[in-house]
Amino acid sequence: MPFLDLVWLVPLFPLLGAAFNGLVSNRRGLPKSVTTTTALLGSGLAWLWGWAAVIQWALTEDRHQAYVVTVFEWITGGSVRILDGSLADVNINASFQIDPLSSVMVGFVTFVGFLIHVYSIGYMHSESDRAYARYFSFLNLFMFSMLVLVLGSNLPVLFVGWEGVGLCSYLLIGFYFEKDWCASAGKKAFIVNRIGDFGFLLAIFAAFAVFGSLEFTTIFPAAAAHPERYAAAATVIGLLLFVGAIGKSAQLPLYVWLPDAMAGPTPVSALIHAATMVTAGVYMVVRCNVIYRISPTAMLTVAVIGGLTAIFAATIGLVQNDIKKVLAYSTVSQLGYMFLGAGVGAFIAAIFHVVTHAFFKACLFLGSGSVIHACGGEQDMRKMGGLKRHMPTTYWTFLVATIAIAGIFPFAGFFSKDEILAKAFAAGFTNLNGFGTVYALLWVLALAGAVLTAFYMFRLVYMTFHGDFRGGHEAEHHLHESPWTMTMPLQVLGVLSIVGGFLGFPGQLFGRPELNRIEQFMEPVILPIGHTPHGAEHAAHHVPLSLELGLILLSLAVAGFGIWMAFRFYSGARAFERPRRLAERFPLAYKLLLNKYWVDELYDATVISGTAKLANLLWEADARVVDGAVNGTRHLTVGTSFLSGIFDLRVVDGAVNLVARAYDVASVAFRRLQVGFTQGYAMVMVFGAAILLVVFLVSF
């Protein structure tokens, strides 16, 4: 079976689809059916081939050995001297690798991506043929970039995918570019991402300078084998990589682009938030877990940023009225949990949360898309309500996903979020790396964030689906359930939001660790550090069983409390009364949250206006100095040319004309000789000869 060796076909299929739709369907304006077929082939074949390759790998190869497939030599640049004084070959291949981490990522990226493609068929059907083709071309390109990102076997290939998803997010967020604010949102996403990418790029250079290679299979074992030697370098590389992750995964302080990313079509939001893009940062941190584990500083930074983002975004989500904005802040918050997980050493739990989050967040976003579709583009929840009756499928799948994100047993979010919370607690409890107090504090923040998550998500459900419709009779008339291409993905994702958590059932609590499938499967990704025997590190961070069970009950209670609060505030006859009173009581806090802590305004006032001022200054300098110099040169040239022209005209031409005139005058007499008559010349010759003869005779 060739699936594994031809694993590069997985990203190639969507790339071909994107190329066809972008270059042919879009230009020619081919009918939607052709575009749809191409796009579904691109993403569907990637899904099938990706799963086939993963399954073949799992069945036939050693799980502890990454399977690397080299496609071609990409960068070859001779050898250079690296930091430790040895020579290293600059030899970077375009190569893909299958290992537990990338197979999990490929598994859900292709699958969720395909579902979103299917959903988009229904959602985008009212676009023009060309816009439709453009949309699907970008969507396929997004899949391609993300697959390159997760399959790449070295940092540069990962970076290609990393930039690719940045580009695609720009293209898709700014899809309705004829609207000014959509184009701005696209630019914002791209520029903020670029700030992070700058750190990533520096990290790549630093990694090469330290390790002399960029292959995952080379640098991570090297770092794991000599943790002391590489600890300082790992701090630098880890922090720089994390700068990239902050930008890509929308963490503090670079999260600002993600809420604005709502400008794109809703399925794109689902794709960005669930399957691709924002999970890339988490993936990359987990991929580089060795680097973080040998650098306590880098790890603590990850945890602190993650924990703070989790609570920060959750508080903003409490008061937003735009259905997609709430979900956007919830994504930022959930990503914070993932980084908190990575920061406390629960890398597998972080990836587990990425997977379950992909299921329920995709379901939530597609559900909100279905709602917006039904409400004719309305996104303000204050103008919704009571949609439960009109669109039952959307309601039930949305509710399931909401319970999952709130973390109620046995839905998907419960297992993954609880594992992160438990690991955070354990990190504080066992005083991980000596930063126990900080970790304990982060755990408290995360727990508070869990209350808020449950609260704002159920607030969203109550405002949207319960009570009476508040959008007016005209709009109520148009309410309808979405077509099957939109509800089918919702149902699939809803089911996965229920059962997806059992991938990581915490069997270790009951003495059955093999039940925690994802932990078992991904364990080779976490390389043992130094000479510690395998598992020792793991055992060291354990807390007593009774405490863990208590923690589970606590997080359930916390989620239940959040739901109860939402129920009290936004349900029944006196809905909205309490929150209004609360807002009147604490106007400053309410305004602070509603205006998102004025972070956008702060950035506007400092970074953006600063940059604008600098740009203005440079422009002025350009206009005055550079343009002045150029114009001065021009004037000078014109002046000298004028003088030189006069000189040419008078002196040079004058001399030439003078010579000509002289010859003209001098030749007046001789001109007569030229009779232009052949025999005349012959006559002259004969007379000349006769004269010569006479002279000859006379002289004797």
Partner: protein, 100 residues
């Protein structure tokens, strides 16, 4: 008895005929033929004195002159063809572009 004088006189007659032909005939071909007469006048002189003095150099010179005359005839005929192509005539006074 034919003496050298006879040859010189004949050659003078031929030379005179040639010069007159070159100068007065309008037909380019006739002019060329007249030129040949001039050449042959010179040749006759050369051969006559070669015989008279018993020196072969004169005859050799005559052969050279014949060769050169052939070359000259070739060039001249080429000029005639060029003239015919240009002006569709062999009249020499038609080619008077050099007149100032």
């Amino acid at each position: 008895m034919i003496t050298a004088n006879h040859y010189v006189i004949l050659s003078l007659i031929l030379l005179a005929l040639g010069i007159v032909g070159v100068m007065v005939r309008r037909n380019f071909i006739t002019v060329l033929m007249s030129l040949e007469l001039i050449f042959n006048a010179a040749n006759l002189n050369l051969i006559a004195f070669s015989h008279r003095l018993g020196d072969l150099a004169g005859q050799i010179l005559a052969v050279f002159v014949i060769t050169i005359a052939a070359a000259e005839a070739a060039i001249g005929l080429g000029l005639i063809i060029a003239l015919v192509r240009l002006k569709d005539t062999v009249a020499l006074d038609e080619a008077s572009e050099m007149r100032s």
